[in-house]
Symmetry: C2
Subunit: 412 residues, 2 copies
């Protein structure tokens, strides 16, 4: 029998528990949606305030030099690099995941000109698939086209027409982890290149891009990195590929000498060529400050807590009658899961809304998915206890069947 | 003889003078660099603070609906539209100018598949030229290539191979205005499409995109719109072109129903298809608040003051011995200039640095250009007086020759 006291003891013993104070979390909420938007680090609020009032307001244009705005994309990239197992000089912060994927897809198309296929999983996050479709429409299907197969059939689908394999490390719905080392090796054995989307893994578990010999990767700043809504994304290119070809979104920030105003583009060396236009400094500054919270974090300890939170959730769930109603979509084996759990339920949307009214924030994903995310830097074991108590109440009172939930909000 | 008293009287009579209080300008500076980075509107600081503390920190993920984050790109676009002479539904806020140009260049290439040339001016802002070069490299020169001619020779260079003419409305160095209506008409008569970059005109003068029957345009948020460092950019597509073809940077935010998570891209109708990835909300919120300052501004009055500031600058300059040293690169006729003046000087870099030390902020552009920008919402006639007094001191004391200016900063 797991008691509330036993759970509070887990929190007392948790080596990451002190991290929670670094976040400005509302006291009346249990926030289990850090896999969608990470909570506000207090340091990010301070940094944005300073960036607006002092840097923009007082130091104005001189801040590009004085406060290092011009170096932010690299500085942020170098803070992310160790968190995804990348040696320095291989990660830079820029644009969105979608835009960065377009750069990488163009690059793999140039590196593998005779191979027209980008292989991906049918339930990959849609924007990843869309970006392949967009480039395909631009270049023509004979040059580049998307082939989607089930996640489990990726390596079987490899052949000599495949230029690249584009996969999410952790599935956005189910939370299933794909075996990065194994798929990357199989991809390269087949002569193709790997592109990994780390949106749902970076910052939530150890990632080993260099050790897995990954070719390219992207990730976002606003989920487990807590960089703020729509925080800029990042891109990784293994050093061996960086200067091989020039990515086509070659804006002035990627020029080797932007302030010479040369009418001819000449790419900067290394990751700088992945920059395009002027970066959104306020948003990037927030991410830069948020990343400092990871400076002293042991990612193995973070992963251990993430799994413990998920396991506790399932254990508490199985001690109730709710378990029968919620069908687990995530792998039952914890080591195969990222930092989230997904369940299907016919009234999943209503469940999420009613749960929110009881102070527990998770999210809904079409068509019938309830998603629960765990952010080990700020979620406690007590949060899980409270979440289950609230869920029990919701279902006992049939609050999830409230007719109000027939009407969906714009963002679900 | 223009006296200081006469100038202060101009400020007392200035109908826009009260706008200055809406900005958090440092008292010890004359800021003549709003053409590079607009000053901080007090309302933007308040808005960013609220977006961070309340929306991100407390309301968290619900803010996408509750605080309209999801609608920000359209809302900001609709605030910009009347300022550039566009009827509603034709402007959306997204990405950077560079990324938006890539979308538009791809679109014109699809709309004019038999015409391979994008015609531009050799001294257009480099990123505009680079984006053509990048797409050209991706598609091949037989499909798309850049042809650069002198600004004055654009219409003569039109022929049946030209798909699009890409020009800056106001030249970033000289400030020369190109005749938008005339060039657009000639472009269309030749069967080509027009793309205008309004970085240096939008927010500084009336612009008439619809009346000039412009096809496409882009602009930034961080110059005369005062949206903050690296504020998101915007894109205009005339209604007649919006649904003709699909732009290739087709991320999930441009899908007709992003939260259905359809694996196949289907473009939203109208300008929404110009969205790509998740937008940087903090930066976009600052721009949204900054644009409210234009709600009641008469753009003709703004233009009148802009020209008056420039004319006063030249008049005061010509009453000194400095005029002989500084060569005006801008058109001498005020109606041919945007809201800036450019001069060449062998020690332009040193002049700018020494001027800054005396509290006057202008900027340097390679190779030898001193640029002075006028933002009629916050610059006063008194600013111009002070700027000239300081410049006189700089040159009298030969401060611009200080050996410190041999060493240039990273951003010039």
């Amino acid at each position: 029998m797991i008691t509330r006291e036993a759970i509070l003891e887990l929190d007392r013993l948790d080596p990451l528990a002190l991290q929670r104070d670094a976040f400005a979390l509302p006291r009346d909420k249990v926030y289990l949606d850090g896999n969608s938007l990470g909570a506000l680090p207090r340091a990010a609020a301070v940094r944005v305030q300073d960036t607006v009032q002092q840097q923009w307001g007082v130091d104005l244009i001189s801040s590009w030099n004085r406060h290092g705005w011009i170096d932010l994309p690299q500085a942020v990239g170098e803070k992310i690099a160790p968190l995804v197992g990348a040696a320095p000089g291989q990660v830079i912060c820029a644009d969105s995941i979608s835009v960065n994927l377009f750069k990488l897809l163009s690059v793999v198309s140039m590196l593998r000109p005779e191979r027209p296929v980008v292989l991906s999983a049918a339930d990959n996050f849609p924007t990843d698939l869309y970006m392949v479709q967009g480039l395909s429409q631009l270049l023509g299907e004979q040059k580049l086209r998307l082939v989607q197969v089930a996640e489990a059939e990726i390596t079987d689908a490899l052949n000599e027409r495949v230029a690249a394999v584009l996969l999410s490390h952790v599935n956005f719905r189910t939370g299933r982890i794909l075996p990065m080392a194994e798929i990357t090796a199989a991809t390269q054995t087949a002569g193709a290149l790997s592109i990994w989307d780390l949106a749902h893994s970076a910052g939530a578990m150890p990632v080993e891009l260099d050790a897995c010999q990954v070719d390219f990767a992207v990730g976002c700043g606003y989920k487990y990195f807590n960089g703020g809504p729509g925080a800029p994304a990042w891109v990784y290119a293994a050093e061996r590929h960086q200067d091989a070809v020039q990515q086509p979104l070659c804006g002035w920030m990627g020029h080797r000498d932007p302030f010479v105003f040369d009418p001819d583009y000449e790419a900067a060396a290394g990751m700088l060529q992945y920059l395009c236009g002027t970066p959104p400094v306020l948003s990037m500054a927030a991410l830069d400050a948020a990343l400092d919270l990871f400076a002293d974090i042991d990612m193995q300890a973070l992963r251990a807590k993430s799994l413990a939170l998920g396991t506790l959730f399932l254990e508490l769930l199985h001690k109730t009658e709710l378990a029968a109603e919620l069908r687990l979509l995530s792998p039952p084996e914890s080591e195969l899961r990222g930092s989230q759990l997904a369940f299907s339920h016919p009234q999943a949307y209503g469940l999420v809304q009613a749960w929110i009214e009881r102070g527990v924030v998770a999210d809904f994903r079409e068509p019938d998915v309830l998603r629960v995310g765990f952010s080990p830097l700020y979620n406690s074991y007590g949060d899980i206890w409270q979440a289950l108590e609230a869920l029990r109440e919701v279902m006992a009172q049939r609050e999830h069947l409230d007719p109000r939930w027939q009407q969906r909000q714009k963002v679900t």
